[in-house]
Subunit: 369 residues, 2 copies
Amino acid sequence: MSQSERRARILLSRLAEPYDAQVQGLVAEHGVEAVVGQALRGTRLPSAPELRRLSARADRATGVDDAHVARLVGARVLVPGDAEWPSGLDALEHPPWCLWVSGPGRLDQLADRSVAVVGSRASTAYGDHVTAGLCVDLVGREFTVVSGAAFGIDAAAHRATLSVDGSTVAVLAGGVDVDYPRANASLLHQIRETGLVVSETPPGGAPARMRFLARNRIIAGLSLGVVVVEAGLRSGARSTVKHARELGRHVMAVPGSVESLMSQGAHAEIRMGAELVTDGAEVAELVGRMGEDLAPAKQGRVRVEDQLSDELRRVWQWLRPRSSSGVDEVMLRSGLTLAETLGVLRELEREGLAEELLDGWQRRPAGSR
Amino acid sequence: MSQSERRARILLSRLAEPYDAQVQGLVAEHGVEAVVGQALRGTRLPSAPELRRLSARADRATGVDDAHVARLVGARVLVPGDAEWPSGLDALEHPPWCLWVSGPGRLDQLADRSVAVVGSRASTAYGDHVTAGLCVDLVGREFTVVSGAAFGIDAAAHRATLSVDGSTVAVLAGGVDVDYPRANASLLHQIRETGLVVSETPPGGAPARMRFLARNRIIAGLSLGVVVVEAGLRSGARSTVKHARELGRHVMAVPGSVESLMSQGAHAEIRMGAELVTDGAEVAELVGRMGEDLAPAKQGRVRVEDQLSDELRRVWQWLRPRSSSGVDEVMLRSGLTLAETLGVLRELEREGLAEELLDGWQRRPAGSR
């Protein structure tokens, strides 16, 4: 991206809100430099009355030395095409004009293996606890935890991640230098020291209400998948899920008591197709790299079938642990001949993995070997 | 069905276990009368060595006057083709030879609008409580509750149903006259008085281990859908679900804490495709008649927060329903001054929407107003 387009994008981030669909349309049609140029010159295009809106903000945008601001608040600004720009954001319907980031992390690399953990501000002790366990587990699997630095689940996610020296990305609605909510200032300070604080709002920008909703699309865009731990039916966390779904990211939710209002949103998401997850292994299996992040089957700590030869497994899998199967049934299902089936059954018996009962064959529990 | 086939089926129920695939195959091929006839005559067919097994039990089967037994235990016996025979059982891979039923209910009619509510014997207080709420709700929607009369979830389902004069069907592994588990004798007595106790095992028959598993297919066959409330990963309740799935019935599970072992089976079922349900309305919507049993959208409830002034909502939303928040916390979150926060909290208290506890403030449920 040229220096002048880069400058134009940063300027535009002070002129227009990123979710401004009309401006997005103009930029798509005319290019960011033309739109910003016209807005600054106060050009009145009959076809683009929106530019008048932008022009009203021109003074406060052009008067700012962004390089100076960046140095002051310890941030850098990214635009599409930069090496550190996370490619996941390009899939957004309204990508940010630019991103301000503060912290030692490399955003593109962190986003490459990251899970968003989000939820209600008014979380319960259960939600906080489950969030912590999940994040500690994800850190152990080398995932970055992305969240929004709000009270409740967000804060629990960042805190747990920091507690085990994991990397965490906080995506803010206000500027990266604006500690909001105020009570999370020291948390945000820690994240700036070790991970990344990210925002499309220029430094100093207020966390206005619409920006919270806009921010959620960035959380979704920066993550391979989104986990909702606890959310009321109308929680903002569900807007993050909506974006994740639109982006084709994995959508997951943690179940809880049906009597808890704070689990209603998670349950509603599962009913709408989100994957139910109960631990970090299940999350990793879903969002992780093929073959690398398989969750251990809950049934089998060390699974018997993993230790069997192909032939033995072929028969063993058709035996049931609590009721017996006739030899003919096992033979039909395994696709072996009768002699082969009987041979394998005898071998399983010698291995202590099957036993012959009066009416057929039955698995023996692995533990009883 | 002819009287002689009927007699043959009842005899066969004393000669062979219903899940005996070999005998099922012979009956399918030769008809029940031929199989029973040959078994009783002790015929040795080279093609059917199984009949020898049946012949060994012939004495104890032919010596019984079933009509007399039925009168003694207050039961009747149903065979396929009887008006009261529930057609749902015909879909089973191994349908019962006959069914013994005891109670005033009409089995075909009850099964026509019934939900099986099943789960772990070792249920938690949460599971029992959710089961009760679910069953009371299903009774209100005129569903019959089917279960297995075991400890835990089964008993909770039957008890809650009886408590609101609903109809409930208990499907036993032993004979309909055998009170098992012994501690549920009075529960079974009540069910025989008002609903139905059902078994394919002839009266006096022991609740043998294999019969419990076989029984589960009948629970599934008698229901439009199966709800698992709580189940361990290897719970027998999951075999009922497996049958329901094979029969194309609705499979549902209630979520719970991810930290509860007793919810692991329910969560595993949801991950395998069971519908997550949180109340009777959602169950009814799934299994009920089109258009008649629509669950109200959860979003659409009259929400407390919709009725509050902006200022009240600004404070109320930061209160948690189950743990208390300090005034300073609420003040910080709401962005009001201390005096304003206290004023609003007192107003919420007058409205019955909040209460002050020793360590802070807490939401009160809207219902308790």
